[in-house]
């Protein structure tokens, strides 16, 4: 499992120049950047399946029908049925909703906590900075998945505790990044100028420093999204995520485990494919977001 670090390198092309022409050209932008276009389309498709799936595919993801168990994919069941006859496609859609929701919540809450910790540490300095950063170091001392596992074991397995565990492992990445960013901006001449003009510390923080770290926070958040989905599936796979009937993608793969080698591959293959598509699309988007938004990146001079 990779730690949620933003990507450092750039892709070809010169996307910023096009992006600056306005949001109205977003479609032209997506069409020209093929990888980004595919990634956005794939993620949008998963969002649609998760949100609107129950409307156009009304099969019950929990509805047991032993008579039609272990059916291969067909027009009646596009992804087949599992060992107790539940429709895998309906479960896949529900899994998309769960994964994307948990991923979003983890990203938003983690970015808030990590962002506040980083900004406070960078702005105040002194013992508070030291205490906060040593706490972050302690979290970083664990391999991320292992800490998420420990937290989930400690708090009792379930979707919420798994999300909490994943969120906790992402906080230091935001905090350290934002702290260094705040320190960098604090030393720039325009902050000195604002100070000379008589602006209070709080005003300088709120009006001059925080707006400048938002893009950094967004880049990191985008990078964390895919990590959160992958880790949730991993926790589900080892039995720490969603409770049994809940169609979370990781637990669905565990369900399919014993049927893989007896020929019923569809139970486990499709949820894994869902994770693969969601995470890859998210990391491609995060990569591009970095190229476009990173203030220190190669487009800083534009």
């Amino acid at each position: 499992m990779e730690a949620p670090v933003g990507r450092a390198e750039g892709w070809g092309g010169d996307p910023l120049v096009r992006a600056r022409r306005g949001a109205g050209r977003a479609f032209v932008f997506l069409a020209r950047d093929r990888a980004l276009g595919i990634a956005v389309t794939a993620l949008a498709l998963l969002v649609c399946l998760g949100l609107l799936g129950p409307l156009f595919w009304p099969n019950d993801p929990l509805g047991i029908d032993v008579g039609s168990s272990l059916l291969p994919p067909s027009s009646a069941h596009p992804m087949g049925t599992d060992s107790v006859g539940r429709d895998v496609f309906a479960r896949f859609n529900e899994g998309a909703r769960i994964s994307l929701t948990v991923g979003s919540v983890v990203v938003i809450v983690g970015a808030l906590f990590g962002g506040v910790i980083g900004i406070v540490a960078g702005a105040t300095g002194g013992w508070l900075d030291g205490l906060l950063m040593r706490t972050m170091d302690a979290i970083l001392a664990f391999p991320p998945l292992i800490l998420a596992m420990a937290v989930t074991v400690g708090l009792g397995s379930g979707l919420r505790t798994a999300g909490l565990g994943i969120m906790l492992t992402t906080i230091p990445y935001y905090a350290r990044l934002l702290r260094s960013e705040v320190l960098r901006i604090r030393s720039l001449p325009f902050i000195e100028a604002a100070h000379a003009l008589g602006a209070r510390r709080m005003r300088i923080m709120a009006r001059h420093i925080v707006p400048h770290v938002v893009s950094t926070l967004l880049i990191q958040a985008a990078a964390v999204f895919g990590y959160a989905i992958l880790t949730l599936a991993a926790l589900g796979f080892v039995g720490l995520g969603a409770r049994v009937p809940t169609p979370e993608w990781g637990t669905m793969i565990t369900d399919g485990l014993q049927f893989f080698l007896t020929g019923q591959w569809w139970i486990g293959v499709f949820p894994g494919l869902g994770v693969l598509i969601a995470v890859t699309a998210a990391s491609v988007i995060a990569d591009r977001a970095r190229d476009i938004l990173d203030p220190r990146g190669r487009y800083a001079h534009v």
């Binding site: 499992m1 070809g12 706490t135 391999p143 998945l145 893989f260 080698l261 491609v284």
Partner: protein, 339 residues
């Protein structure tokens, strides 16, 4: 130099201390009651109180923390009641299997990553570069346990090239005499070529599965480093002195591109540790990762607890070693220290 190393060491020790506090909080303070888990749901209250006494759970928290830390360092890691053995026995017995798998996974990831990173940057061929970048994105996005199932399905079930998930050796092969506990090496040392071949065949699929994420990560890193280095002035100089493209790459660009990769070894170790938890179960590999998953399912948290802290210690230790080593290998890092 020494002062810098001492500073880094104290930082590393601080991190491990903080990590142990975290592990202690999440394992001892929050969960319901480990004593009840051990004596079972039907036990009387007296039995639970008795069990709490023997485990020291009635003592104040700081006493419990002290016992916990002392236990970690003296090798007293508790009792894995689901296996009926001490945690230490379980972990020590299973370590070689995980280490051998990790070693082969790393070799696979490293060799393939170097080859593909070279292919991506050696000449300007956008489609090769694009394909390799796409593969690395997919590699990082693939859930390793799922990938393991797919390769098992294809290579073992459908095509029958590799053996199925039956651990380190086939059912008819006896383990080689133990020197290193690595079956491939031991079998070769004892001249049992058939056993070595069997062990290697059983290693292949799990190693590729475990190595997938490190491979994808290394390709990205090496490719970016190679691109950076090949734009450096000294590469232009050696090329203009008449050195061919290949010697310039292999002798000048590649060694320099490896340096930043060294800093990522901690991350690679973390990937291998987490990966083993996810992959070993799929292949019935008798290593620590499979032990952890089984312990979670049986709510035997003494094992998980030890594993969590040990992996944190290993992770911090590797990062610390890399920090110090980096100064030794790359003189540029030493300069600010000398001042």
């Amino acid at each position: 130099m020494i002062r810098a190393a001492a500073g880094k060491l104290s930082g590393a020790l601080m991190a491990i201390f903080g990590a142990s506090v975290f592990a202690f909080i999440f394992m001892r303070v929050f969960p319901g009651n480990p004593a009840r888990l051990i004596v079972g749901p039907l036990a009387s209250n007296e039995a639970i109180v008795q069990q709490e006494k023997t485990m020291g759970l009635d003592k104040p928290l700081w006493v419990q923390y002290w016992r916990y830390i002392k236990g970690i360092f003296t090798g007293d890691w508790g009792f894995a009641y689901s296996a009926g053995e001490t945690v230490k026995h379980e972990i020590v017995a299973r370590l070689p299997a995980s280490a051998e798998l990790g070693l082969y996974a790393f070799l696979f990831a490293f060799v393939l990553a170097v080859i593909l990173a070279l292919a991506a940057t050696y000449r300007h061929r956008p489609w090769v570069d694009g394909t390799i970048r796409g593969v690395s994105f997919l590699g990082l996005g693939t859930p390793p346990f799922w990938f393991g199932l797919i390769v098992l399905l294809l290579f073992s079930q459908v095509w029958g090239i590799f053996p199925g998930p039956d651990g380190r050796l086939g059912p008819n092969t006896t383990p080689p005499p133990t020197y290193t506990h690595f079956y491939t090496i031991d079998a070769v040392a004892a001249g049992q070529w058939g056993t070595a071949w069997d062990a290697l065949r059983h290693l292949m699929l799990p190693a590729i599965t475990l190595g997938l994420a490190p491979f994808a990560f290394l390709v990205r890193l090496l490719r970016a480093n190679l691109l950076d280095v090949s734009r450096e002035n000294f590469i232009v100089v050696v090329r203009s002195k008449g050195l061919g493209r290949w010697p310039a790459f292999s002798h000048h660009a590649l060694p320099n591109a490896f340096l930043p990769t060294l800093t990522a070894s901690g991350l690679l170790l973390a990937q291998l540790i987490s990966g083993s938890v996810l992959v070993e179960k799929v292949f019935n590999w008798p290593g620590i990762g499979a032990l952890i998953v089984d312990s979670i399912l049986r709510q035997d948290f003494a094992v998980v607890q030890t594993f969590v802290l040990l992996s944190a210690v290993a992770y911090v230790a590797v990062n610390f070693a890399v920090d110090v080593l980096y100064g030794v290998i790359d003189p540029r890092v030493r300069i600010p220290v000398a001042r």
